[in-house]
């Protein structure tokens, strides 16, 4: 690892000032669970490291019935996993966190860091995509809200500019009669998933699909939604056959990158299986919510 200057601002404002000053010469570290490996391998060698790990200002989980959920960027995975608020209103996030990497990584790694590192196999993005989540990105002069869908730009690249900081993740209130599930596929516990699929179904009063969302990880350079497959559900009664067909379509919407573990064809196949399985579970949950 190359040496760097270390700056640990005490407030968000101070952080934004520092970012504005150093721009491309600096890199933000939060939990650093991915970034440290990147630095160790010499894939990145910033002159300044801006440490926001202990920025308590961004360590929060808030909920209200109007605006929904707000999670501060430096909230650890473990805090999300154990939050009663999240278990009550967004249990899929707690379920996702319970199997994200390992206990050690969840204890130090942050939810904001996970999104910003933009590993396409990251666990956090698919369920957020399924819930139409957004993020708040701030700079010295203000802030902007970006959907999680628009957040990724490319493999390990996001819309966050050099003078910007991701401060908050927002998840809208989950409509009634909604079921959400995230399932992922990996070789061993603790490792990054090969693929992950999150499905959310909201049912109308007749039990047909009012809204469908499918978030997928590990099947493109960035986390994506299966928008064609989603449309197949809307207004329809969700059946096993429909799920089967939509899963095939979802699989066709992917452009996986082959790696040492799996070929692109294999990932395409398995994402179909996982969309199907997550859809079935989401449907069960939606039906339960509707009853």
């Amino acid at each position: 690892m190359r040496d760097f200057e270390y700056i640990a601002p005490k407030t968000v404002k101070e952080t934004l000032d520092v970012l504005d000053e150093y721009q491309e010469d600096c890199k933000i570290i939060a939990g650093g669970q991915s970034l440290l490996n990147i630095l160790k391998q010499g894939l990145m060698a910033p002159e300044y490291i801006i440490d926001i790990k202990n920025l308590e200002e961004l360590n929060y989980i808030k909920f209200d019935e109007k605006d929904g959920l707000k999670i501060g960027a430096t909230t650890t995975h473990r805090s999300v996993e154990f939050s009663d608020t999240i278990k009550e209103h967004y249990n899929v996030l707690s379920e996702m966190e319970r199997h994200l990497a390992t206990v050690q990584i969840r204890n130090w790694g942050t939810i904001g860091g996970n999104l910003c590192i933009a590993d396409p196999t990251g666990d956090v993005a698919p369920p957020l995509l399924a819930m139409d989540a957004t993020v708040i990105i701030a700079n010295k002069d203000g802030e902007r809200e970006v959907t999680v869908l628009d957040f990724g730009v490319d493999y390990y690249e996001t819309v966050v500019g050099p003078n910007e900081l991701l401060t908050e993740i927002r998840v809208p209130v989950i409509p009634s009669n909604t079921g959400i599930a995230y399932l992922k596929y990996r070789i061993v516990e603790g490792d990054a998933p090969i693929v992950g699929a999150a499905v959310a179904f909201t049912l109308n009063e007749k039990g047909a699909c009012k809204k469908a969302r499918i978030g997928m990880g590990g099947v493109a350079p960035i986390p994506i939604r299966a928008e064609k497959a989603e449309k197949m559900f809307e207004g329809e009664k969700i059946t096993d056959t429909l799920i089967e067909e939509a899963a095939k379509v979802a699989s066709e919407e992917t452009t996986p990158i082959p790696d040492i573990v799996a070929s692109a064809e294999y990932k395409k196949r398995v994402i179909g299986v996982y969309v199907k399985r997550a859809a079935k579970l989401a449907l069960t949950r939606a039906e339960k919510a509707a009853n």
Partner: protein
């Protein structure tokens, strides 16, 4: 008297390990020790035209840079005396990506890294060979001057053609296995310094005396000028049998006469240490309708990578074990080991037998299904029994527990009705598979003695001196239990001096599951000699002929008159007063007969371990994901000196076997760190029932044989056969990873 053998004695290293106070290779440090780091080849095959270290030498903190020209002795090493073909620092040629070409000694690791980057090596790239069969074709570029064939091995018994013509059914299949990484959690590491005219090396190793001899050879010194001390060793599995940091540390201390340290990073460990040999195994097996084997013909091609290491031992072991633990009248096995420009392969838990067992057990499983015989029964029909003759013509007269192991697993399988496939659901199927194995204890048809000493002290305690490396498997405890039982002295009254070439003599490698049997016997022998010394002294003191004396309960008695006795520690005091140490020197070399080079006939091992395993697996046909649900393994260990530790070895072997069966594959140039190589986690482990079978080995210490490697061997075949039972596809290329399983399932669907 309290028994120490057959008891779950607390391991002697228990406290240090629980407290984290034991020091392993990477924990060794001496204030001011220089850091060593090797410069390694980026090419798989290239001629070295020149090495320019001048720029690197100017870096602050760099003390010295070594190249092949600085090696004062023979620049070649290797564990097997006749195949020492590996250079410490490459002289003319590099043969794989990772071959060391220079060594930097610096005050800190950062300067060492900078220097390594600044060393300029001018290479002329040569064509590289990546396939062992390609390597053996005529006209291919030579990786080593003597040619690309490292060695071959052949076993011929009976008349193979007759065997096939007598068969009702013949099964022909090709099997392949992959390169595997040992992945001991402790990376290689150690320190060295100069003391009393000697180079002292403290390192993590499976083989301190071999290390000493090969380092001395590299440095052109007599072995007594090098002292190797084995420190805490965090796993080996065969990966710490070859020298790694030891050679570099020796070279630096030789020139600098000051303390140095070297620790491999995980990446360096992946890149530059031994791997498991991938084998291609072509089987033709003939049998009668009733399941009785008539002929087994096997053609084996192994890939040893760039260097020999244990390649010779692996191909010999694979050929000797190729029939499996079964009586076969007609056998023809031909094995060849070829060089390639891939990472070199050496010993890894089982030396070729885990690979060959996968093949012979797949063949047995196919026969069982084709002939509609229960897979356990077909093994029982063919299994060795007392009096059976192996493919090498060896008659097995005792301790042949294979049938017993099969009965035990049958009992478990049927008791829990595993064959009923309870729990199946759409797309997810359950199957039960069986695997058996045999494993020769010790090296193959060559002398591989162990030595030990036991000394009595006047305070009523004893010291056991052994060169046997404790790598986590538990030999420290086992050898002390043996000594304790044989001496009748409580285990906590025996001090252990282990793995220091200055104070202990050669016990041979901690490999081939040999330490309990061979070093255990050496300990027994040293106590025999100790008693001779005591009797001789007692004879003088008691004025009785030695032949009339016996040792019992800490005393020496006259056979004729039991009122005449003398306490052994009284004798020790008398001897010590006369400046005589009471120390018995022991040795044991398992009786073997060298294999005939043409026919492979001989006695390769003095004794064999046997085992059978049944595993219950679940296959997700949508993804190819396989989960092992249950496993029962029965191992004939002769006698379990410490049953708890034996059972621990069995669960250990199941874990490593799951890795080998389902997920482990070292892909050269792609596998670089832990993130590219999967091993089983706590979540991948099935419920395991370990079963000990004790068919006592009369030549073993208290009847013991060995279990370290056997524990692993039946696992992969049991799992693979379980997959077939579940979904009807046969995986012939390990590991049965997601893609291979899905590929086979799709092929089946298509057909």
């Amino acid at each position: 008297m309290v028994d120490f053998v057959g008891k779950d004695i607390l391991r002697v290293d228990a406290f240090d390990k629980a407290l984290g106070s034991i020091l392993y290779g990477p924990d060794q440090n001496i204030e001011g020790a220089l850091w060593l780091l090797a410069k390694r080849s980026p090419y798989p095959h290239a001629r070295i035209l020149s090495i320019d270290t001048s720029q690197a030498e100017t870096i602050d903190g760099v003390v010295r840079i070594f190249t092949a020209a600085d090696i004062p002795g023979e620049n070649s090493f290797g564990i097997i005396p006749v195949t020492k073909d590996q250079t410490l620092l490459a002289k003319d040629k590099v043969r794989y990506i990772g071959d060391a070409v220079a060594l930097v000694a610096a005050y800190d690791l950062k300067s060492a890294k900078e220097a390594v980057d600044k060393i300029k090596v001018n290479y002329e790239e040569l064509p590289a060979i990546y396939d062992p069969e390609e390597s053996l074709k005529k006209g291919r570029i030579l990786i080593h001057e003597k040619g690309n064939l490292l060695c071959s091995s052949r076993i011929i018994k009976g008349d193979i053609e007759k065997g096939f013509s007598n068969a009702d059914i013949i099964i022909e299949r090709e099997y392949r296995t992959s390169r595997l990484e040992h992945l001991s959690l402790e990376p290689e590491g150690g320190i060295g310094y100069f003391e009393d005219g000697r180079i002292v090396i403290i390192a993590s190793t499976q083989n301190p005396h071999y290390d000493r001899d090969d380092v001395a050879r590299l440095l052109g010194l007599s072995p007594d000028k090098v002292r190797v001390i084995q420190c805490g060793t965090g796993g080996g599995f065969g990966g710490k049998l070859d020298i790694s940091v030891q050679g570099f540390i020796g070279l630096a201390v030789y020139h600098l006469k000051r303390a140095v340290r070297m620790v491999y990073s995980r990446e360096e460990s992946f890149l530059t240490t031994a791997k498991r040999h991938p084998l291609i195994m072509r089987y033709k097996t003939g049998a009668k309708k009733d399941g009785k084997l008539t002929a087994v013909k096997v053609d084996i091609i192994g890939d040893t990578g760039a260097y020999a290491s244990y390649g010779l031992a692996v191909i010999m072991r694979a050929t000797v074990h190729a029939t499996g633990p079964y009586e076969v009248e007609n056998v023809y096995v031909d094995g060849k080991m070829a060089y390639t420009n891939l990472p070199w392969c050496g010993a890894m838990r089982g030396f070729g037998v885990p690979q060959i067992a996968f093949a012979h057990e797949s063949q047995m499983d196919i026969l069982a299904h084709e002939l509609n015989i229960d897979p356990i029964d077909i093994r029982l029909i063919n299994a060795f029994k007392k009096g059976s003759v192996t493919a090498t013509g060896q008659r097995l007269d005792h301790s042949v527990g294979i049938k017993e192991s099969l009965y035990k697993i049958k009992e478990i399988r049927d008791k829990y009705s595993w064959s009923k496939k309870k729990g199946e659901r759409l797309g997810t199927y359950i199957g039960v598979g069986v695997g058996s194995m045999w494993y020769g204890i010790g090296n193959t048809g060559v002398p591989n003695p162990s030595t030990a000493q036991v000394e009595l002290l006047p305070d009523g305690s004893a010291i056991l001196y052994t060169g046997a490396a404790e790598i986590g498997q538990g030999s420290d405890t086992i050898l002390l239990q043996i000594a304790s039982q044989r001496l009748g002295i409580a285990i906590d009254r025996i001090k252990l001096v282990r793995g220091d070439t200055l104070y202990t003599t050669n016990a041979g490698a901690t490999s081939a599951s040999r330490q309990t049997y061979i070093s255990g016997n050496a300990v027994m022998d040293s106590i025999d000699h100790l008693e001779d010394i005591l009797k001789a002294e007692a004879s003088e003191q008691m004025d009785l002929p030695s032949s009339e004396l016996i040792v019992k309960d800490g005393k020496i008695f006259s056979i004729k008159d039991s009122s005449k006795s003398i306490d052994i520690f009284e004798l020790v005091k008398i001897c010590n007063k006369n400046k005589v140490r009471v120390i018995g020197e022991g040795r044991f070399d398992p009786p073997t007969i060298k294999l005939d080079p043409e026919t492979g006939q001989g006695v390769p091992y003095a004794t064999y371990a046997f085992a059978s395993q049944v595993s219950r697996v679940e296959v997700d046909t949508f993804t190819g994901f396989i989960k092992v649900l249950n496993s029962a393994s029965a191992h004939d260990v002769g006698k379990a000196i410490n049953p708890k530790m034996v059972k621990g070895q069995i669960t250990s072997g199941v874990a490593m076997g799951i890795g080998m069966a389902l997920m482990e594959e070292f892909v050269p140039n792609k596998t670089k760190s832990l993130k590219d190589y999967y091993i089983p986690t706590s979540m991948d482990m099935p419920e395991i029932i370990p079963i000990i079978v004790e068919d006592k080995e009369p030549t073993g210490p208290f009847g013991a044989k060995g279990v370290g490697e056997p524990a692993l061997i039946p696992t992969a075949p049991a799992i693979i056969n379980g997959i077939y039972d579940a979904v009807g596809v046969r995986i012939t290329h390990l590991p049965a990873n997601l893609e291979r399983v899905i590929g086979e399932l799709l092929k089946k669907e298509g057909a």
